[in-house]
Subunit: 182 residues, 2 copies
Amino acid sequence: MIKRSEVRKAQQRAARMLDEAGIVLTPEERDTIEVAEVGLGELEKTGLELVVYVNTDRYCAKELVLFPRQTCPEHRHPTVAGEPGKMETFRCRTGKVWLYVEGDPTPGPACKPPAGSENYYTVFHQIALDPGEQYTIAQDTLHWFQAGDEGAVVSEFSSTSRDESDIFTDPRIERTPRIVED
Amino acid sequence: MIKRSEVRKAQQRAARMLDEAGIVLTPEERDTIEVAEVGLGELEKTGLELVVYVNTDRYCAKELVLFPRQTCPEHRHPTVAGEPGKMETFRCRTGKVWLYVEGDPTPGPACKPPAGSENYYTVFHQIALDPGEQYTIAQDTLHWFQAGDEGAVVSEFSSTSRDESDIFTDPRIERTPRIVED
């Protein structure tokens, strides 16, 4: 649950970060930045801000904004109605992002799961992405990611996006934010 | 046909334009920018520079660079081996680009086809794209585009790219550049 005024503040903050990254949005895009408060009531720690440029039945492109140390919680994109789950490429544009995927846990990882949610983070193979670096995640693969101390802007190129079908490790998470008027 | 030294110059110029657009490339990406001299021997007028970020069997993402008034010649993306032709979204990042697609010809268009190639341009429905604006082209639809006087950087999000199957209206065009050593 998130208040409308907090959504607006997060939208403005994300818009500033995109602006600083040299990414131009239309006024309508600025006003409709998606604030994914995922139901834990701690957007600063757990959540994500998104601009969806295009999402057709063949491909999707988004800009993701992470505030400093904000975490997109662990999830996977399953097969839906016989269609293979989303395959996605993350390309870091500004800031720094660490991506965690299935595989051998990396010793001394740069990030910790958000406090209080440790039980719902299970994959710890670390991929560090600086601006200009990218990584592609296969369908139905568990992953989570966290920005560094300056936050991050990350482009996501993918097959069709069906966010409502994402499966989060943490059963408390609701992908569709519930916004309450102030 | 294009000389290796000219390819290098075009790569450096495109890299500078991407840099000015705030787009970070890895050193390897900078060194391998694709210079699409399309066989007419007039890269400044007819051609395109590209960075392919990712091209899987499900989606593709590229950065396109157009020098001032450079034109990507008219072509379409046909069905290949039963797979529908490429669907693509052009998003202008910097500069200005005019896109021409099938439909009612726009009176007083902003661009003219490159001199000497007028016969091979047949669609004149104009879409003007400023930074932050985008347009999606359906599969197998004829289109061409030209940058304004400052050039342009354009992101392309699409289904799988099969450049070698593109059909150009101008039969003189060869999509795969022939590079000759100096």
